[in-house]
C-alpha cells in the first residue's frame, strides 16, 4: 500500500515537472512568433534551451529512478547550462556584426563610458527621488 502511494507520488511529481517544461516550450514558441526582431526573439528561445529542457529532463529523471540513465540526463542539463548561453551570445554577436541597420532596432553606444555616465545619472536621479520621498 505504502509502495503504491509512493509510486503515485512519483508519477504526479514527474508529470508536474514535465508539464512545466511543456508550458515553457509553448511560451518559447509563442515568444518566437510574437516578437519582431531576432535579438528580442532570442530571449524567448534561450529560455526554452535552458529552463524548458531542464524541467523536462528532471521530470524524466524522477520517472527513471536512480541509475546511469539519470546520471547521463543530469550531465545533459549541466552541459546545456554551460553551452546554451554561449550559443546565444555567439548568435547575438553574429546578428550585431552582420546587420548594417542595427540602430533602427536598438540603441547603440559606440563608447561605453557614455552608457556608464547615463546609468550613473539615472541612479542618482532615483536616489534623490527616494530621499525626497523619505524626507516628505
Amino acid at each position: 500500500m505504502l509502495m503504491n502511494a509512493f509510486e503515485w507520488i512519483r508519477l504526479i511529481v514527474g508529470c508536474l515537472f514535465i508539464l512545466t517544461g511543456m508550458v515553457i516550450f509553448f511560451t518559447e514558441l509563442f515568444g518566437v512568433f510574437h516578437f519582431e526582431y531576432v535579438l528580442n526573439r532570442m530571449h524567448a528561445a534561450a529560455m526554452g534551451d535552458t529552463l524548458g529542457i531542464s524541467a523536462c529532463l528532471i521530470g524524466l529523471m524522477i520517472f527513471s529512478g536512480l541509475n546511469f540513465t539519470t546520471l547521463k540526463m543530469f550531465l545533459i542539463i549541466v552541459f546545456l547550462w554551460f553551452a546554451s548561453p554561449v550559443s546565444s551570445h555567439v548568435l547575438s554577436r553574429l546578428e550585431a556584426a552582420t546587420n548594417d541597420n542595427l540602430s533602427a532596432h536598438c540603441e547603440i553606444y559606440e563608447d561605453l563610458e557614455v552608457l556608464e555616465r547615463e546609468l550613473a545619472a539615472a541612479k542618482e536621479d532615483k536616489n534623490t527621488e527616494m530621499k525626497e520621498a523619505s524626507a516628505s
Binding site: F79, F82, A83, V86, H89, V90, A97
Partner: protein, 319 residues
C-alpha cells in the same frame, strides 16, 4: 663508435640517394625524357565578353515569361507536375513499406542463418558483449579496414584539391585573422571547461566499444568535434602546437598499419579452424574480447584526425 663521413662521401651512399628520391628532390627522368614547360593559359578577353553577352541574351529570351504566354503556362505546368510527381513518389514508397514484414518478424529476409550464428555464437567466439562490435571488428574486420582506408583516401583527395602553396596560405591566414572574430573571451572560457569533457566522453565511447553501443567511429567523431571546438575558440596558432600535417601523417600511418598487421594474424593463426593465440578474456571486462579494443582505438584515432583535418583544410587550405 661511429665513423664520421664527409659530405662528399655521404653523397655517394645508397641512403643519401634513397632519401633524396623519397623526398622528391631529384627526378630520375630529368635529362633523359624530353619535357616542355607548360604554357600559361591566356584567356581571350573579347571572345569571353561576346560569349557572356550572347549567354545573357539567350537567357533573357528564354526566361521572358511576361511576353511569352506559353512559357508561363509551361512553368506553371512544370511546377504542378513536379509536386504531383513528389506526392506520387511518397505514396509509392509508403505503399511499398506497408507491404514489408514488421520489424523483427521471423519472415524477414534478414533473419537468415548468418544473423542467428552471430547472435548465438558471437559472445563465445569474439568475447565482445556488444554483438555489433564483434561483427564489424572480428567477423568482418577487413571490411572495416577498407572503411578506414576510404577515410584516409578521402583526406588525401581533399588535400590534393584544396591545398594552397606557401604564399597563398599566408594570404588566407591573414584574411582569416583580419575578418573573423578572434579572442571571444566568453567562448574561450567555456571551451576550457567543455573541450576536456567532450574529449573524455569520446575516449569513454571508444574504450566502451566492445561492451556497449559506440566504438571507434562514433567516439572518433566526438573527439574530432572537441578538437574543432578548441580550434574555433583559440585559433590555428594554438592547435598548431600539437597538431600539424606531420602529426596527422604519423598517426594515420601507425593506426592503419597496426590495424593491417593485427588483422592479418588470422591468415597464419586464426583462419581455417586454427586456434587464435590471443586470449579472449572474461566477457564484460574492459580488457577482453581479444583484438577488438586496440582495433577500436586505431579506428577512433583515424576518424578523429580525419574530421579535424577536413575542417582545417576547408577553412585554411592546410593544417
Amino acid at each position: 663508435m661511429s665513423r664520421k663521413k664527409t659530405a662528399e662521401e655521404y653523397q655517394k651512399t645508397f641512403a643519401f640517394r634513397f632519401f633524396r628520391w623519397l623526398s622528391g628532390e631529384k627526378d630520375p627522368y630529368i635529362g633523359k625524357v624530353e619535357m616542355r614547360p607548360q604554357k600559361e593559359y591566356q584567356p581571350d578577353q573579347k571572345a569571353a565578353l561576346r560569349h557572356e553577352k550572347e549567354h545573357d541574351a539567350i537567357m533573357d529570351r528564354v526566361y521572358d515569361t511576361e511576353h511569352n504566354k506559353w512559357l508561363y503556362r509551361f512553368h506553371r505546368l512544370y511546377q504542378a507536375t513536379s509536386i504531383l510527381f513528389c506526392l506520387f513518389l511518397i505514396a509509392l514508397l509508403l505503399v511499398t513499406i506497408s507491404y514489408l514484414p514488421p520489424n523483427g518478424a521471423v519472415t524477414r529476409p534478414v533473419n537468415n542463418e548468418v544473423a542467428v550464428r552471430y547472435i548465438e555464437k558471437g559472445l563465445e567466439e569474439t568475447g565482445a558483449v556488444n554483438i555489433v562490435a564483434g561483427m564489424i571488428l572480428d567477423y568482418r574486420a577487413f571490411d572495416t579496414l577498407g572503411e578506414s582506408h576510404v577515410l584516409f583516401a578521402a583526406t588525401i583527395t581533399v588535400l590534393i584539391l584544396l591545398r594552397l602553396n606557401k604564399t597563398e596560405k599566408d594570404e588566407a591566414e591573414v584574411s582569416d585573422r583580419r575578418f573573423e572574430p578572434k579572442n571571444d573571451a566568453i567562448l574561450q572560457l567555456v571551451a576550457t571547461f567543455l573541450v576536456p569533457i567532450i574529449i573524455i566522453f569520446g575516449i569513454y565511447i571508444i574504450l566502451n566499444g566492445h561492451l556497449g553501443p559506440g566504438g571507434g567511429f562514433s567516439g572518433g567523431a566526438v573527439i574530432g568535434a572537441g578538437l574543432v571546438l578548441y580550434l574555433n575558440a583559440f585559433g590555428f596558432k594554438k592547435t598548431e602546437r600539437f597538431f600539424t600535417e606531420k602529426t596527422y601523417k604519423w598517426i594515420c600511418f601507425f593506426s592503419l598499419s597496426f590495424y593491417c598487421l593485427a588483422k592479418s594474424y588470422s591468415f597464419y593463426t586464426g583462419a581455417n579452424q586454427l586456434h587464435s593465440v590471443i586470449p579472449k578474456g572474461t566477457p564484460g571486462a574492459i580488457l577482453s574480447s581479444g583484438l577488438i579494443l586496440p582495433l577500436n582505438i586505431a579506428v577512433g584515432l583515424v576518424v578523429a584526425c580525419t574530421i579535424y583535418a577536413f575542417y582545417a583544410m576547408f577553412r585554411k587550405g592546410g593544417f
